[in-house]
Amino acid sequence: MDLIDLSQTAELLALPFVQTALAAGAVLALLAGLLGPLVVGRGMAFATHGISELSFAGAAGALLIAGTAFVGVGALVGGILVAVIFAVLSTRARANDTVIGVVLAFGLGMGVLFQSLYQGRTANKFSLLVGQIVGVDSGQVIALAIVGAVVAVALVALYRPLLFASLDPDMALARGVPTRALGIAFALMLGTTTALGIQIVGALLVLALLVTPAAAATAVTANPVVATVLSVVIAEVAVLGGIILSLSPGLPISPYVTTIGFVVYLVCRAIGAVRLRRSGRRETQGGTPRPEPVA
């Protein structure tokens, strides 16, 4: 069986459910790409993993107790609740790794329990972990688009103080930035994005979308605006490319999306390393003036 096979891709792309999946993927990639550089800047990769596992547990719990229709609500409750708890418990901008580890393990355990007890279709179970993008309906795409618009507007309004509080929390506090309130606002955005993400691409892939593109982007640029744009572009390429490549072989999208993201990340790291070595060489040759001692 060929992992790369485009023989039926063109036909499949014409199908409405595939187009819905692409639309959902595009909006999700936009959201994840926008939030990613702040997730990376705040050192919240692990926290994001915790949030997605707890969102998964919430979705699995809702599926067990209330049925398929309430999976989205369960995911939102789980994701937002935990994101806010992490934000409140974190000292300054950094989340507490130990607390996250403890909560994550418990959440995953609960999720597995809920899934084992669930008597319905097994496809519903598996999809929360690895995603079920072809099962996305247009209602979900609209919900996603609304959340995407709200988060984008909030991000523009909060951007500078949020960046300040995320990257230089002590100084931001001294300048009167409400770092704690901004941390909670960010947790709400992150929790909502994660909850929507796990229903589409699954709990495992949410992490890949929120962290990998931003990590790749920040490896090649220190300009925060360029990093955000680049992070969105990389997330889009990974998600849309992943969906398209997965169509013909009929495999899950996860391996394709994560592989594209990972390859881009490696390339960006290599570019960053080469640049760093070059600027280092210039310094030793005396090209970059160093601060001259005045004592």
Binding site: V156, L163, L167, A172, A174, R175, A222, T288, P293
Partner: protein, 265 residues
């Protein structure tokens, strides 16, 4: 001033004039940093008034610049030098910046970078810069709002002697050329001694204000610490010597006789 249930000090009356350089000294827990927190408008005094240029300090006011201790930033922080300086100008303001304000912002950042001579690394990632380079950007970040007063909280800590000199020189030039007052919290008076106009020495709720010659005497410090303390001057430096368990030394050593931290060890 009270913090929690403890009264840190009372009846402190300090008028700082334009361009004055005031060093704030005292052992840990004497309320040096708390004083700066009040001037930043983050903490109201329990009684009395704190005024900057006749007005109560506002959170995030551009009239007050703040230079913290040098603390390494994460190498992966997605900020260039100029973005970092820009956060000092409007990092606390919400909403996007467009048009004329955007150009104005760019010019002010460029000017602040020029004032501290940091143009060369304005576009480098801040996390990759040396401690001295980062601390210059910190000063640019404090100066970009064109402040009337600069609050410095141990800005020399963890810098080598050469970079300490750069920082002191920049602060001294700023107050001479722009009349910006400097309040400088420090454990070590000697590096700034040549530029200090007055010293505020805080110990356990007691304090003394005056020129270094007035405050840094055996008599005054013995009174403040309520125990015998010797102040000696050697080669233009001031050394403070106390006895066991006397918190004259500020680094927490517990030797029998301690030559205090005013001397660089």
């Amino acid at each position: 001033m009270e913090r929690g249930t403890r009264r840190l000090w009372s009846d402190l009356d300090l008028d700082v004039s334009q361009g004055e350089f005031v060093a704030i000294l005292g052992p840990n827990g004497s309320g040096k940093t708390t004083l700066l927190t009040m001037l930043l408008g983050l903490l109201p005094p329990a009684a009395g008034e704190v005024l900057v240029d006749g007005r109560r300090p506002q959170r995030g006011s551009s009239r007050v610049g703040y230079v913290p201790q040098q603390k390494a930033l994460d190498p992966s922080v997605p900020l260039r030098g100029r973005d970092f300086v820009g956060l000092g100008l409007d990092g606390h303001r919400f909403g996007p910046v467009f048009g004329r304000r955007r150009r104005e912002r760019r010019d002010r950042i460029a000017d602040a970078l020029h004032q501290v001579g940091a143009e060369a690394w304005a576009d480098a990632p801040v996390g990759r810069l040396s401690g001295g380079e980062q601390q210059r950007l910190r000063i640019a970040q404090a100066l970009v709002g064109d402040p009337d007063i600069l609050l410095c909280d141990e800005p020399l800590l963890s810098l080598d002697l050469a970079h300490q000199g750069v920082v002191i020189d920049l602060l001294d030039r700023r107050r001479r050329e722009h009349g910006t007052a400097v309040l400088f919290v420090t454990h070590e008076l000697n590096p700034v001694l040549p530029v200090v106009d007055r010293v505020l020495y805080l110990v356990d709720g007691r304090f003394r204000v005056g020129t270094p010659d007035e405050v840094m005497t055996s008599e005054t410090l013995s009174e403040l610490y309520r125990t015998s303390v010797d102040v000696v001057r050697v080669r233009g430096r001031i050394l403070v010597v106390g006895h066991e368990n006397v918190p004259v030394h500020h680094h927490g050593e517990q030797d029998d006789v301690v030559v205090s931290s005013f001397a660089r060890s």
